[in-house]
C-alpha cells in the first residue's frame, strides 16, 4: 500500500501538539451529512498504542490460520477434481478456495511473495497470461473457464497446494503491522471495488460476487477484533454505521443467491442489481473509512488547521 508509506513519513514528523480537529474554523461552514456524523478523537480516552493491537492481531492471526487450514483442504479437493478431469467439480472447488482466500484479505500485506504465488494476477506481468510467473488461483481460473482444460490446470494446482501449505506454516510467526491492520478495515472492500467489481480480478469465472461476500465476511472479522478498542473512542457512531452498511450489503448479496445457494456471475447481473451491489459496497467503504483514525496507533500528529494553506 503506497498510502502506508505516506502515512509513515507523516508520522516521522510527529510533534506532540495534541490531536483532534482543526479548531473553531469548523463552525464557519459545518459539513453537511454524512460528514456531520463524523467522529473526532475524544480527548478523554487514551490514544491507542501499538501494544493495544497485540490482542486483536493475535486473534486475527488465529482466524487466518483456521481459514488456511480449510483452504488447504479445499485446494486438495480442487487438485483431486483436476486430476480426474472433472471440470464441473474443479470449478466448484475453485470457487470455494478463491472465496476462502478473499476472506483473509486483511493479512495479504504480511504474506510477502506467497500472496503473489497464490492470488497473483496477470495484469502486471510482461506477457500477461502467457507469463511463466502467472500462477496460482487465477492461472487455474483461466484454465478451468477460458481454456476449459483440467490438463492446463494440473501443474498450477500442484504449485498452489505447496504455496498454501507454506503460508499456513508461516502465519504463526508473521508480523502484521498495527497501522496496516487498522487501515484494512476499509481497504479490504476498497480492493473488492477496485479489483472484483471492476471485473479485473476474476474475469473468467465471473466470481466477483463470491469474492465480495468473502471480503465482507473478512471485514466483519477485522471489526470484531477491533471492537474493544473502537467502542470507547467511537463517539460519533462510526462502528454501528459501518456495521449497518455491511449488513445491508450482506442482505443484498443473500438475495441474489439462486436456488442452489450459488451466486450469479457478476458479468451477467442485470444493471439494477449491479448498481445495488456497487452502491452498497461503496457506501460501506465510505462508512468503514472512519474507523482507522479512531484507533490510529501512531503518536499524535501536530494540530493543523482544517482549512488549506493560508489557514
Amino acid at each position: 500500500m503506497l498510502r502506508l508509506a505516506a502515512l509513515a513519513a507523516a508520522a516521522a514528523a510527529v510533534a506532540l501538539a495534541g490531536c483532534g480537529g482543526g479548531g473553531g474554523d469548523h463552525a464557519a461552514s459545518p459539513p453537511a451529512q454524512p460528514y456531520s456524523k463524523r467522529s473526532t478523537a475524544p480527548g478523554a480516552v487514551a490514544r491507542v498504542t501499538p501494544a493495544d493491537y497485540r490482542r486483536p492481531i493475535a486473534e486475527y492471526k488465529r482466524y487466518v490460520h483456521r481459514q488456511l487450514a480449510a483452504l488447504l483442504g479445499e485446494v486438495g479437493v480442487l487438485r483431486a477434481a483436476i486430476a480426474r478431469h472433472d471440470l464441473a467439480a474443479a470449478r466448484a472447488a475453485w470457487l470455494k478456495a478463491d472465496a476462502r482466500y478473499e476472506a483473509i484479505g486483511a493479512a495479504y500485506g504480511a504474506f510477502g511473495d506467497l500472496d503473489a504465488a497464490i492470488n497473483g494476477r496477470h495484469a502486471g506481468l510482461a506477457g500477461g497470461v502467457r507469463s511463466p510467473d502467472f500462477t496460482g488461483l487465477h492461472r487455474i481460473e483461466l484454465a478451468l473457464w477460458q481454456q476449459r482444460s483440467t490438463r492446463e490446470a494440473a501443474a498450477p494446482a500442484g504449485d498452489l497446494t505447496r504455496a498454501v501449505a507454506r503460508l499456513r506454516a508461516k502465519v504463526v510467526t508473521m508480523e502484521i503491522d498495527p497501522l496496516e491492520y487498522s487501515l484494512r478495515a476499509h481497504e479490504v472492500l476498497e480492493d473488492g471495488i477496485h479489483l472484483q467489481l471492476s471485473g479485473q480480478a476474476s474475469p473468467w469465472s465471473g466470481a466477483a460476487l463470491v469474492a465480495l461476500r468473502a471480503e465482507v465476511k473478512g471485514t466483519k472479522v477485522v471489526l470484531r477484533t477491533l471492537e474493544p478498542m473502537l467502542v470507547r473512542r467511537d463517539a460519533g457512531g462510526a462502528l454501528p454505521q459501518a456495521r449497518r452498511a455491511l449488513r445491508r450489503l450482506s442482505v443484498a448479496l443473500d438475495r441474489l443467491e439462486r436456488a442452489d445457494g450459488s451466486l450469479p456471475r457478476w458479468d451477467r447481473l442485470g444493471q439494477r442489481d449491479r448498481e445495488l451491489v456497487d452502491g452498497l459496497t461503496a457506501g460501506a467503504a465510505e462508512q468503514l473509512a472512519y474507523v482507522p483514525e479512531l484507533i490510529d496507533p501512531r503518536p499524535a500528529r501536530p494540530a493543523q488547521r482544517s482549512f488549506g494553506d493560508d489557514g
Partner: protein, 406 residues
Amino acid sequence: MRRRAFLGSAAALGAGAAIDRVLGAGGAAPARAADAPVVAAKPIPFEGAHQAGILTPAPAHAIFAAFDAIAPSQAELATALQTLSDRARRLTSGYEALLGAPGEGPTPDSGILGPRAAADGLTVTIAFGASLFDERYGLNAHKPRALKPMTTFPDDALVAEECHGDLLVQLCANSEQTLLNALRDLMRATRGSLAPRWKIEGFLAGSRDPGAPRNLLGFKDGTANPDTRDPRLMDSLIWAGGGEPAWAAGGTYQVVRIIRNRVEFWDRVARSEQELMIGREKSTGAPLGRAKELDDPDYASDPKGARIPMDAHIRLARPYTPASESSRILRRGYSYSRGLDLSGQLDMGLVFCCFQADVEKQFEVVQKRLAGEPLVDYVVPTGGGYFFAPPGARDGQDWIGSGLFV
C-alpha cells in the same frame, strides 16, 4: 443513403449564406447559447421559483449524471435528496474547503479546488425519471402527469447502460475542475442511497465567431431557441402547470439524448451537401439563401424546397407553422467527446438537452417530424432519458423534491 436522393433536386442551390443550426431535435429559437462560455462573477442562487441551470445561460462545461435510488426506504430516499440539495447549495455558493486535520477521519473535501472553492458559475439541476415513481418508494400517486420512460425512436441505437435513471443531476460551470469537485462531493454524500447509472461530460465551443456556438458537425447550434427573457413565453413553453400534481407546478420536463455524430463520415461529405441536410450555410449560420444567422428562413417564399429542402433539418425541426410554434423547446445541449470505438472511429457528438412543459406535445412532436431526415445517416442516438425537474427550492431550508414527501 438517403442523402443521395435529395441531392439532385437541391444541389441547384448554391450559395447560401448563413449560419447555424444544430442537430438533435431541433426546435428553435435563439437567445442565449450565443454567449456560450459565460463567466458568472456572482454565484447563481440555488433557490428560486424554478431551478437554476434551465434558463440561466449555459457555461462552457457540463456533466449529466444519472443515478438509481438504492435507499432502503422512502425516508432514506428523502434524506438522500435533502442531502443532495444541501450539498448543492453549498457548492453553488462557493465555500471554504475543509481539507481535513489529524484525527478527523477521511478528508472532508476533495481539495481539487484548493482551500477556497469559488462558485465558478456552478449550477446543480436535479430531475426525476419515471422509474422513481414505481412501487418501490410509494410515490406512484405523485408522478408528474406526462412523465414516462424515454421513447425509442426508429432511428435510435440505444445502449441500455446509458439510458433512463431514477434521477438526473445536471452540473454546469465555467470549468471542468469545478464540475468534478461537485460531482465527487454529491456522490460521496449520497453513497449507499444513490447508485450511479451513467454519466457524460459536455463542453461548448468558445465564441470564435459571433452567434451560437458550433457543434461537432461544424454548424452553429442553438440559434433558434425561444427567448428566455420572455416570462410569458417561458410559462407557456417551458414551465409545467395545468394538470400537474400541486408539488410539480413550476417544474419542467427535461429530455437528454446522447447523440453520437459520425464525424469521420460527415467530414467526407461536401460542404454544399452538408448545408442542404442542415438547411444553413456553414460559415455564417444563416438559413440557406439568407444573409445572417438570425434571418427568417422565410419558407413561404420557398414552398417547394428549392432553397431550403423540405427535409432539411431546420425546416423539419421548426417549420414556422402556427401549430409548430407551440411545440417549441428550449435546447441547452453540449458537445461531448469520449474515446474510440472498436473500428477506431471517434466517439463524439451531442448531449442533446431540452426543456419543455410537455414532452409528448413538444419534444416528441419535433422528433417525429425529424424521423427519416437525411441527417440520420450521420447521427446516432445512443442514450439519455426523460426526466422531470421539479420547481426550485423555496428558501434556504427547502430542498428539491421536498413536495413529494409532505
